[in-house]
Symmetry: C2
Subunit: 244 residues, 2 copies
Amino acid sequence: MRHAIHNPPGEAGCSGCEQQPRCLAGRFDEARREQLVSRLRTGIRCLPRYPLFHAGDRFRYLYIVQSGSFKSWRLERNGDQQVLGFHLPGDVLGIDGIRNGTHTSAAQALQSSRVCALSLARNPESLDGLSWFNAGLLKAMSRASSQDQEHLVIMGRRQATQRLAMFLRRLRRQYRRLGWPDDELTLTMSRADLASFLGLVLETVSRLFSQLHESQVLEVRRRRVTVLDPERLRQLSEAEAVSG
Amino acid sequence: MRHAIHNPPGEAGCSGCEQQPRCLAGRFDEARREQLVSRLRTGIRCLPRYPLFHAGDRFRYLYIVQSGSFKSWRLERNGDQQVLGFHLPGDVLGIDGIRNGTHTSAAQALQSSRVCALSLARNPESLDGLSWFNAGLLKAMSRASSQDQEHLVIMGRRQATQRLAMFLRRLRRQYRRLGWPDDELTLTMSRADLASFLGLVLETVSRLFSQLHESQVLEVRRRRVTVLDPERLRQLSEAEAVSG
DNA sequence: CGTCAGTTTGAGGACATTCAACGGAAGTGG
DNA sequence: CCACTTCCGTTGAATGTCCTCAAACTGACG
């Protein structure tokens, strides 16, 4: 089995985690984190393509991305999958499972990654005294909702170039939020995944990259993208209409 | 001013509300609802086009739809709006405002409607002892997330017919959930709103309705749609590809 | 070095958009 | 109550964009 999951020694904890300032649990002081220790498993390592959960799985944990990246998707009857999102450190995965206790989407690692798993108890009363935590959860879910909204706005745009430009600008924003340089983007997803995310076919996405490379907006070497002309990228993402 | 908001006498409460079994707050017994009474304003009447909130507004309340219907949308720089969702009784509106305390989307009534407003306190500690309520909130937000995912799947489909068919089947499911007849659908949104929701232009949506009417799948009289052939509608929504 | 998955590029065609005009319903004011 | 305006929805013709099918290329890995 190529894709395995390993649990690090228990002491790994949150002390060394780079995502602490952004983390749902890390936001809070050490004492408070102690309250969660029995529900929290930190530093779970995932190899590329390792699945956190499948559609239909019973809901067990919420996952917080510590490092690396993930994709989430839904499988249709047709057989083809719709990519719902790409997830970077600080993001929460598995929210859709809370409702019925069953996941409606699937998620897997796009590269070597680490996550924390957080078990939500069945009986709500056990959360008494942890309302600070619940409030954090609410905010994390609200953020996930906003991200879905941004995705919907991208899918709503007709022009393919506009969609890709919007995606790249959004990715830059996420990089900045993480304190990473935002001119050198590393796409951890395949062209097919990106195409599904954007509501296009992979050939179109490939052509768009070539086109933006040709016109000096980007430099594209496979999955390594350098943003050369951010201003032009902005224009492309905001284009009024075709005639604009 | 044509669009006004009226507060009914305080005693209106939840006792007569049809949505009780589905309501975030109504799920719980009377005693528990008492705990929320200071945060809950029930039975707020909204005339058509009445806005619950605009993008940029400070977050004050979560809204629970009691009767009628709403749309939510984002306004782009371009000036045009992307419809994010249509909301029926039992749905929660305003989730996106929790994150920063500012709404990123807007919502307004599509017809004469009623909502309940629920104020989330600034300090999380005040939620201690209300964890049962918080758990309900989590589920409601999880449901909203699932609905966004369904919307994303619709937008990902290339064929316009497929999108509309998926939308109609989804609407039927929602009608059934509410205990309404699911063969007579009343679209409370305009063709333009529906087109934006589906990622199409309104002319295309209009043509699709005519087409489905012509082929005896639907009977369409403006916003009144009768489903004549549910099986054919299913086939259209699941079509493999163009060649299928 | 050979295989294979992922990506790029090309040619042709289908389908949704664009632009334009018309019809009908609802709402307004006399 | 009727004429008027306005909004919404429908239909038509032509254009253009993205999809489909196909083949070649690249890099990774055994």
